[in-house]
Subunit: 247 residues, 2 copies
């Protein structure tokens, strides 16, 4: 059975997240429906990142096995014709047997956008969190530096019984052009981790938490130590990295 990789973007506003859920409109559900329409197979896809309700993706990666080989240029065109304008399939590639968009991924990165001014920019309101208080970017970058490395991120994640929250963050920086943005790259992320990291850093940025308090928050392994979770609509799954060999 041929194995395929799809790269896609989506506007998460109208979806109950990426992952298929009975009775809910999800990106994976719509994609599998589109595959059924186009190639007449009931496909079970695997995604690289399970984005939450309202979270967007610039690069999501999905893999699936099909009963037969497909003309991939045509497949992409047909899927884009069937699926709504909120999802764009960029490419389809054949991948080796056993390759998985989820398990073969070496890292994921997210960007989180903040519109930091007194009144919200109407043209950014769908994809940036409006924060009216002043943010201290220097302090936020100090906080972000404390996040890099392997830590138990239990303070930042919705608890899933029996699942470890140890993750290795590779990069974590704040910058500002028109919007304030957070870039974070990790081997993988636990549930609600990025939005909790943003919440904590924003508390640093407004002076409610000191950057040097961050190691203590991590060490506490206690969700209650992170006061706020940033809203989903500022978050974008940015990129997924695979090794050169199998991707």
């Amino acid at each position: 059975m041929p194995n395929y990789r799809l790269d896609l973007s989506y506007d998460g506003s109208g979806f109950h997240g990426f992952a298929r859920q009975p009775g809910q409109r999800t990106v994976q559900g719509e994609l599998e429906q589109a595959l059924l329409t186009v190639i007449h197979e009931q496909i079970e896809t695997t995604g690289a990142g399970r984005t939450d309700t309202g979270v967007h993706a610039r690069q999501q990666v999905v893999s699936f096995r099909s009963e037969r080989a497909h003309d991939l240029v045509r497949l992409v065109r047909s899927l884009n014709g069937v699926i709504g304008p909120e999802v764009a399939i960029w490419s389809a590639h054949p991948v080796p047997d056993g390759w998985s968009a989820r398990f073969s991924a070496e890292w994921r990165s997210y960007r989180y956008f903040i519109d930091n001014q007194p009144a919200a920019d109407p043209l950014e309101r769908h994809r940036a969190w409006h924060v009216h208080y002043d943010l201290d970017l220097v302090a936020m970058n100090e906080a972000a530096a404390h996040l890099v490395g392997e830590h138990d991120f239990t303070s930042f994640c919705r608890q899933v019984p029996g699942r470890s929250n140890v993750r290795r963050i590779l990069e974590s920086t704040w910058s500002k052009s028109k919007l304030v943005e957070f870039y974070v790259k990790s081997t993988s992320f636990c549930h609600q981790q990025v939005r909790s990291l943003v919440g904590l850093c924003a508390d640093v940025g407004r002076g409610h938490v000191r950057p040097d308090d961050v190691p203590g928050v991590i060490a506490a392994r206690n969700r209650a130590r992170v006061g706020s979770i940033a809203p989903p609509h500022g978050l974008v799954l940015w990129e997924v990295g695979y090794s050169e060999l199998d991707g």
Copy 2:
């Protein structure tokens, strides 16, 4: 009677344009309704640019006279509390008697955004025109250079009987970062002019019209010579310029 200037942005997607129209949801209508709620006066506002249905504004300027003086910091806050998230009032300033957002303006600029790739980016679809064919930016910039200066833009405008279509374009350039964008600055614009300029330049960009044909299209003063009008959702009223003295 004190005279005031408001600077505002809006997402034009849900409006039948800027200008007040009976029975239609317009930016000016909503703004005047908000002023009625906040200062309890039936205000008649004047806007710097009459943007069409679906066109956005980064900087729109409005002036109005009120029966009494207002605390302007509070006025801005109250208006933003009443008006929807699609409109943001940035500031309110007192202006000299006789100053008009429309008649005192020395120039206006617009930006038009094109998402130029095979599949549309879902996160740009509300504010960029998706063009799937390749665009030649060099040719488009040659075309844009032909537009600069004082011309009769009848070929580019919806005809209004008895109104001149002579306008002086001060700047007109195409550039590309993530999106392809057109910047055009003029003392003023006639109706549908910018979208027609974009339509012609896009025809240049795909090789259907040569840049050197542009002077002939201008000289024809014939609307039929411009084949296509770009859709409104890629267009943003960018900035309005007033002289230092009276603004």
